[in-house]
Amino acid sequence: MSVSKKVLPGFGLTMGLTMSYLSFIVLIPMFSLALEAAEVGWAGFWKAITDPRIIASYKVSFGCSFIAALINAIFGTIMAWVLTRYRFLGRRIIDGLIELPFALPTAVAGIALTALTVDKGWIGKPLAELGIAVAYTRVGIVVALTFITLPFVVRSVQPVLERLSPDYEEAGLVLGASKLKIFFKIVFPEIKPAVLTGFSLAFARGLGEYGSVIFIAGNKPLKTEIAPLMIVTRLEEFLYGQATAVALVMLTASFIIMFLINRLQIRSATFCEG
C-alpha cells in the first residue's frame, strides 16, 4: 500500500528520530569494532584468537552453554507441559516465577547460586559428600547458565501447548496408539520448533552471559574461564585489539545462531499457515 505513505503523517519525524538514535547508539559504536579489527590486521587477529587460554575459554563457553540449553530443553518442556496441562497446588506461583531469571539482576543470581553450591551451601553440602563439587568448576558454570536461560524453553513451548487442540491426540487414542507413540508422533512434532527455538535462544544467551557466571566459575585459566571474561581480561590489560578479536569470534557465533533461529521461525510460521 503505497497510499498509506501519503495519508499517515509523522514519517519524517519518527523516521528521523529512529535513524539518528540507532546511528548514535548502535551503528557508530558497532563500526568501531570493524575499525579496531582492521587496525589489528589478519596476523594479529589470528594470533589473538588462537591463544591457548582463549581457545580453552571458547570450549568452556560453548560446552557449558550447550549443556545448559540441553538441560533447559528437557526440563523446560516438562515444565511447560505440567504448567499447561495439570492443575496442582503451587502451579500459579511456579508459573509466575518462571521469568525470575530475567527480572533478577545477574550479579545477585551469581552470588546466590554460589552461596547455594559451595561445599557448605544447602545444595553444595550433600553433593560434596557424594564427591561432586559444583561451585568453582564447570558444573557451576552450567548451573548458572541453566538458571539464567530457564525461561526461554518454557515460555516458547507453553503457548504452543495451550493452542494445541486435543482432537489429534483423541484420534490417536481412538485408533489405538500407545501413549508414548501419541507423545512422540503427535504432540512432539507440534512443539519441536518451539523447543528448538527456545534451545537456540538459551544457547545464544548462555554464550554471552557474564554477570552470573564469574562469581560461580572460580575463573581458573584454561579451566573455568569463559570467553566474555577473556574479553574483559584483555581490556584490563589494554590489549584492545585482542579483546576485539575475541569479541568478533563470539559475535559471529551468535549471528549464526540468530540466523538459524530466524530460519526456524519462518519455517514453523509457514508450516502453521500452509
Partner: protein, 290 residues
C-alpha cells in the same frame, strides 16, 4: 472445574500419562522450580539477615550503597525514557509506512539482544575510550563518557534498546491503519492521531515492555562493568557495588544490598503478571463487545 487443587488433577485432554506418571512430572517440575527459582531468593534473604537486623540496616544505608542506588535509579529512568521514545517512534516508522530496508532496520533494533553485554561495553570503550577514535573530539568538548556516568547510561541504553520497540511493533502491525487513516482524513494531525487513536491500543503492551526494560536496566552488569571503571560512589551501580562487596569478602553486606534488588525484581515480576492478567481481561471484554 471442581477440585482443581488435588495433586495430579489433569485437565480434560485425551492424552495423559497415568496418575503416577502425572505426579512424577509434577514433582520434577516443583523440584526444579524449588532448586532454581525459590532457593536463590531464600538464600539471599537468609544470608542478608545472618547477623540480625542492625548489620543489615547498616549495609543498606551505607553512603556508597545509597550513592550506588541513586545511580542505578537515574540510569534506569534515563534508559527507560529514551528507549520508550525511541521504541514508539521506531514502531510508528516501521509499521505505518512501506519502504525498502525495513528488514535491515528491524535487524539493527534486535542487535543489542543478540550480542553479549560485554561486547556492548567493549564497543563503547573502542568508540569513546581514551584510545577510541571519537576521543579527540570529546577532549575538545571536555566530555568524558567512558569511566563516567554518561558511559554507564549509554551502555544501559544499548542493552535495553530493543525492549519497547519489539513489544510495540507486532501490536501495531497486527492492528492495521484503518482507524488512523480515517482520523487523518477527518483532519487530525500526527500527535492527535497518535495519542487519541493509536495509543489506547498499545497501552498495555507499552506498560508491559516498560517493566521488562526497567528490570533489565537496573540489573545490567556486564556492559556497565566494562565502561564504569568501578569508581566507588561515582560510577558504581548497585550490581557493581554488590560485586565489590563480595570480592572484598564482605559477604553478608553484599547479600544485604542484594535484597534491595531482589525486592525490586519480585515487585517487577508481580506487576508483570498483574498486567498480563489485566490485558487478557480487557482483550476478552473487547471480543465480547464486538
Amino acid at each position: 472445574m471442581k477440585n482443581t487443587n488435588s495433586i495430579g488433577q489433569a485437565l480434560p485432554n485425551a492424552f495423559q500419562p497415568n496418575l503416577w506418571g502425572r505426579r512424577f512430572l509434577i514433582v520434577i517440575t516443583t523440584l526444579f522450580a524449588l532448586t532454581f527459582l525459590v532457593a536463590p531468593l531464600v538464600v539471599v534473604l537468609t544470608r542478608a539477615f545472618e547477623y540480625g537486623w542492625s548489620p543489615f540496616w547498616k549495609a543498606v544505608t551505607e553512603i556508597y550503597t545509597v550513592k550506588a542506588l541513586r545511580l542505578t535509579a537515574l540510569t534506569t529512568v534515563l534508559a527507560v525514557t529514551c528507549n520508550t521514545l525511541f521504541g514508539l517512534c521506531a514502531a510508528w516508522a516501521l509499521t505505518r509506512f512501506q519502504y525498502k530496508g525495513r528488514g535491515f532496520l528491524i535487524t539493527l533494533i534486535d542487535l543489542p539482544f543478540a550480542i553479549s553485554p560485554i561486547i556492548a561495553g567493549l564497543i563503547f570503550i573502542l568508540t569513546y575510550g581514551r584510545l577510541g577514535w571519537l576521543h579527540p573530539y570529546l577532549v575538545d568538548w571536555q566530555l568524558r563518557i567512558v569511566f563516567n556516568v554518561p558511559g554507564v547510561v549509554l551502555a544501559t541504553i544499548f542493552v535495553t534498546l530493543p525492549f519497547v520497540a519489539r513489544e510495540i511493533v507486532p501490536v501495531l502491525a497486527a492492528r492495521g491503519t484503518d482507524e488512523e487513516q480515517a482520523a487523518v482524513l477527518m483532519g487530525a494531525g500526527f500527535f492527535t492521531v497518535f495519542f487519541k487513536v493509536t495509543f489506547p491500543h498499545i497501552r498495555w503492551a507499552l506498560v508491559y515492555s516498560l517493566i521488562l526494560c526497567a528490570a533489565r536496566a537496573m540489573g545490567e552488569f556486564g556492559a556497565v562493568s566494562v565502561v564504569s571503571g568501578h569508581l566507588r560512589g561515582k560510577t558504581n551501580t548497585l550490581p557493581l557495588h554488590i560485586e565489590i562487596l563480595y570480592n572484598e569478602h564482605k559477604f553478608s553486606e553484599s547479600f544485604a544490598v542484594s535484597t534491595i534488588l531482589v525486592a525490586t525484581s519480585v515487585i517487577i515480576l508481580t506487576a508483570r503478571n498483574v498486567i498480563e492478567q489485566l490485558a487478557k481481561k480487557e482483550d476478552e471484554s473487547n471480543v465480547f463487545r464486538s
